[in-house]
C-alpha cells in the first residue's frame, strides 16, 4: 500500500475550502466597528486550507495506521479491551440524545434523565452501593471524586486530622496521584510475596490520621484479595474508609460486590467493564458509587425521581460540590446503559466467568514458556515476568515489539511495578479459544526466537508503519506542534 506521511498542514493549499455555509441573511455587522481594534485578531489563523476530499483521505489514511479492538486481539492488561457493540453506538447517536442542550428544561429531557437515573440504579446493584453519581469523566476523575467524598465525610464528623490515604505499591499510578490532588498525604505499603496486602504492614500504618485505604480487588496482579474482610474490618476499626478502584470489576460481576466486601466508595470505568469504546484515549466515564452513610456527599446535581418526574437536585448541602460541567459524559453513559440491558444479569455474570476462564487458560498454557512469578488461579488477567530472573538477553519491551510483527497489540508491560519486567495479559470474554491459541502460538514462537535469534526481537518491529522511535530525542528537544 502507498505510504502516506503528510501532515494536514503540508497538504494545505491557499484558497481551498471543505465547508459550505448559507449566505448571511441578516445585515452583516461591521466587526471593526463592533469591537475596539485592540480586541481583534491580528495573527493569521494557523489552520489548514483543504478540500473535503483532502480531509476524508487524510483521516482515512491515518486511521489505517491504527490498531483497534475491531482490528484484532488487544490483550492490554488492566484496560479491559472488550468488544464495543455497534448497537450501542447507534443508540448514543440518536438525535434525541445528541441534540439535547444541557440547560434545556427538565420536562423536555425526561428520557435522558430517566436513562441516567436507571443506570445509577443498575450500577449500584452491580457494585452493592447505595447510590451512584455518573458525573466523573474518567476513572481517575471518579477516584478524585471518591476521595473528596471520603475527606468530606471525615470533616463533617469533625475528624479533620485524617489526611492520609494508604495505597499499596501494586496500585495504579492514578491512585496516589488522585489522593494527592484531593489534598491527602500518601502512605505506600508494600505487598506480600503473593502480591496481596501485607496485613502486618497495614496494621503498622493504621492510626487516627488515616482517612482510608485504596484497593483494587482483584489486585493488579489479577489475584483476588482473599483477606478482604479482615482488611476491611481493620480499616474500619481504625476509623478509615475503604475505596474500591473498579478497574478490575470485569472479573467479578454477579459473583461478588465491592459493597459486600466492605468497601465504602467505588468507581467504575464504563470504558472498561461496560464496553464503551476507548476512543484512542477517551472519552471514558468514571461513575462513583457510595455506601449509605456517604450518599449526602455525592457531587451535585443528583438525579432524582420525584413523583413521576425526573429532576436534577442541587440542594445537597453536604455535597463535595461539582467535579465537572453538566452531568457527566452522557454519550458514554447511553452506551453503557445499552450494554447492561443487552447483557442482563446472567449475561454480565457470564462475561465475568468467561473473562476469568480465558485468562486462566492463557496463563496455564504460557507458564511453561514464560516466567509466572505467582502460580495461582487468577481472575481476569495475569502477570508474567519475562523469562524470569536469569534471562537478560532480551527484554519485555523486545517481546512486546516482536508481537507487533505477528499482528497483535502487545499486553501491558512493566506494570504492575512490583513485578520485574512485567507482562500483563487480559484477554476479556470477547476472545474465542482460537484467537487466544493463535496468540499463544506467537508468544511461544517468540520465546523460541529469544533463544535462537535474539537480534530479531531486539530490532523488532520490522513490518509496522514506523519502527522503534527515538523517545529520548522526543523528550529532550520537544517538538509539540508543526511549524513551517
Amino acid at each position: 500500500m502507498r505510504e502516506y506521511n503528510e501532515l494536514i498542514f503540508e497538504i494545505s493549499r491557499e484558497g481551498r475550502i471543505a465547508y459550505t455555509l448559507p449566505a448571511c441573511d441578516v445585515p452583516e455587522t461591521c466587526i471593526k466597528s463592533s469591537f475596539p481594534a485592540s480586541m481583534l485578531r491580528e495573527k493569521e489563523l494557523g489552520l489548514p486550507e483543504v478540500s473535503e476530499v483532502d480531509v476524508i483521505r487524510h483521516y482515512t489514511l491515518l486511521s489505517n495506521k491504527n490498531y483497534g479492538v475491531d482490528t484484532g486481539f488487544y490483550p492490554l492488561g488492566s484496560c479491559t479491551m472488550k468488544y464495543n457493540p455497534k448497537i450501542n453506538e447507534d443508540m448514543a447517536s440518536l438525535p434525541k440524545f445528541t441534540g439535547l442542550h444541557p440547560y434545556q428544561p427538565e420536562e423536555t429531557a425526561q428520557g435522558a434523565l430517566r436513562l441516567m437515573h436507571d443506570l445509577d440504579g443498575m450500577l449500584a446493584e452491580i457494585t452493592g452501593m447505595a447510590q451512584v453519581s455518573l458525573q466523573p469523566a474518567a476513572g481517575a476523575h471518579g477516584e478524585l471524586a471518591g476521595l473528596m467524598i471520603i475527606k468530606a465525610y471525615h470533616q463533617n464528623r469533625g475528624d479533620s486530622k485524617r489526611n492520609k490515604i494508604i495505597v499499596p505499591d501494586s496500585a495504579h499510578g492514578t491512585n496516589p496521584a488522585s489522593a494527592s490532588v484531593a489534598g491527602f498525604d500518601i502512605i505506600q505499603i508494600n505487598s506480600d510475596e503473593k502480591g496481596a496486602v501485607d496485613i502486618e504492614a497495614l496494621k503498622a500504618v493504621l492510626n487516627d490520621e488515616v482517612a482510608g485505604l485504596m484497593l483494587t480487588n482483584p489486585s493488579t496482579l489479577g489475584l483476588f484479595e482473599k483477606n478482604i474482610k479482615e482488611i476491611a474490618d481493620l480499616v474500619h476499626e481504625a476509623g478509615g474508609l475503604l475505596y474500591y478502584d473498579g478497574a478490575n470489576m470485569n472479573a467479578i460481576m454477579g459473583y461478588t460486590r465491592p459493597g459486600d466486601m466492605g468497601f465504602d466508595v467505588v468507581h467504575l470505568n464504563l470504558h472498561k467493564t461496560f464496553s464503551t469504546p476507548h476512543g484512542g484515549g477517551g472519552p471514558g466515564s468514571g461513575p462513583v458509587g457510595v455506601s449509605k452513610k456517604l450518599v449526602d456527599f455525592l457531587p451535585v446535581p443528583v438525579i432524582e425521581k420525584q413523583a413521576d418526574k425526573y429532576v436534577l437536585n442541587y440542594d445537597k448541602p453536604l455535597s463535595i460540590g461539582r467535579v465537572k460541567s453538566f452531568y457527566g459524559n452522557f454519550g458514554v453513559i447511553v452506551r453503557a446503559y445499552a450494554y447492561v440491558l443487552t447483557m442482563g444479569a446472567e449475561g454480565l455474570k457470564k462475561a465475568s466467568e468467561m473473562a476469568v476462564l480465558n485468562a486462566n487458560y492463557m496463563k496455564e498454557r504460557l507458564k511453561n514458556h514464560y516466567y509466572l512469578p505467582i502460580d495461582d488461579i487468577c481472575k481476569h488477567e495475569f502477570v508474567l515476568s519475562c523469562f524470569g530472573p536469569d534471562q537478560h538477553e532480551v527484554s519485555t519491551l523486545d517481546i512486546a515489539k516482536r508481537l507487533l510483527d505477528y499482528g497483535y497489540h502487545p499486553p501491558t508491560i512493566y506494570f504492575p511495578l512490583i513485578v520485574d519486567s512485567a507482562i500483563m495479559i487480559e484477554p476479556t470474554e470477547t476472545e474465542s479459544k482460537e484467537t487466544m491459541d493463535k496468540f499463544i502460538d506467537a508468544m511461544i514462537l517468540i520465546a523460541e526466537e529469544a533463544k535462537t535469534n535474539p537480534e530479531l526481537l531486539k530490532s523488532a518491529p520490522h513490518n509496522t508503519h514506523v519502527r522503534r522511535l527515538d523517545e529520548v530525542k522526543a523528550a529532550r528537544t520537544p517538538v509539540l506542534k508543526w511549524s513551517k
Partner: protein, 124 residues
C-alpha cells in the same frame, strides 16, 4: 561502578565536593545509569536557601523521574546552566558535571555523609 575517592556521597545517590565554604553537588554515576537517558534537568534558582534533605531540583528520563535532594544545608550560589541546556552531560560524565553549588551553612552535617567506600557498599 564509577566512583571518585575525593567526594562524599548520600544514600539518595548525590555526590558533594567541598571546596572551603563552597560545595558542588551532582548525582552519582550509579544514579545516571539507573535513570537511563536523561532528558530534562530542573534546578532551583540562585539565592534559594535550603535545608539538608530539601529538593534542589528534578531529573527526568523517558521512563523515570527523580527529585534531587540537598545532602547538607546551604544557599545556592550557582547553577550549572550547561546541564540544563544539555542534560545528556549527566549521562556522559556524572562527576564532571555538577548541578548546583552552595555555600555551606552547617559544615558539621558533612560528617553524616558517606565515603566512596561506604557508598559503594550501600549500592550493593
Amino acid at each position: 561502578m564509577n566512583l571518585l575517592n575525593d567526594l562524599l556521597y548520600t544514600k539518595n545517590h548525590e555526590w558533594i565536593k567541598v571546596e572551603g565554604e563552597k560545595a558542588y553537588i551532582g548525582i552519582t554515576d550509579y544514579a545516571q545509569h539507573a535513570l537511563g537517558d536523561i532528558v530534562f534537568v530542573e534546578l532551583s534558582e540562585v539565592d534559594t536557601e535550603l535545608s539538608a534533605g530539601d529538593s534542589f531540583g528534578a531529573i527526568e528520563s523517558v521512563k523515570a523521574a527523580s527529585d534531587s535532594y540537598l545532602p547538607v544545608s546551604g544557599t545556592i550560589v550557582e547553577v550549572n546552566e550547561a546541564v540544563i541546556d544539555d542534560p545528556s552531560l549527566l549521562n556522559q560524565d556524572a562527576y564532571a558535571n555538577w548541578m548546583v553549588a552552595i555555600t555551606l551553612s552547617n559544615k558539621s552535617e558533612l560528617d553524616e555523609l558517606l565515603t566512596a567506600e561506604q557508598y559503594e557498599a550501600h549500592c550493593k
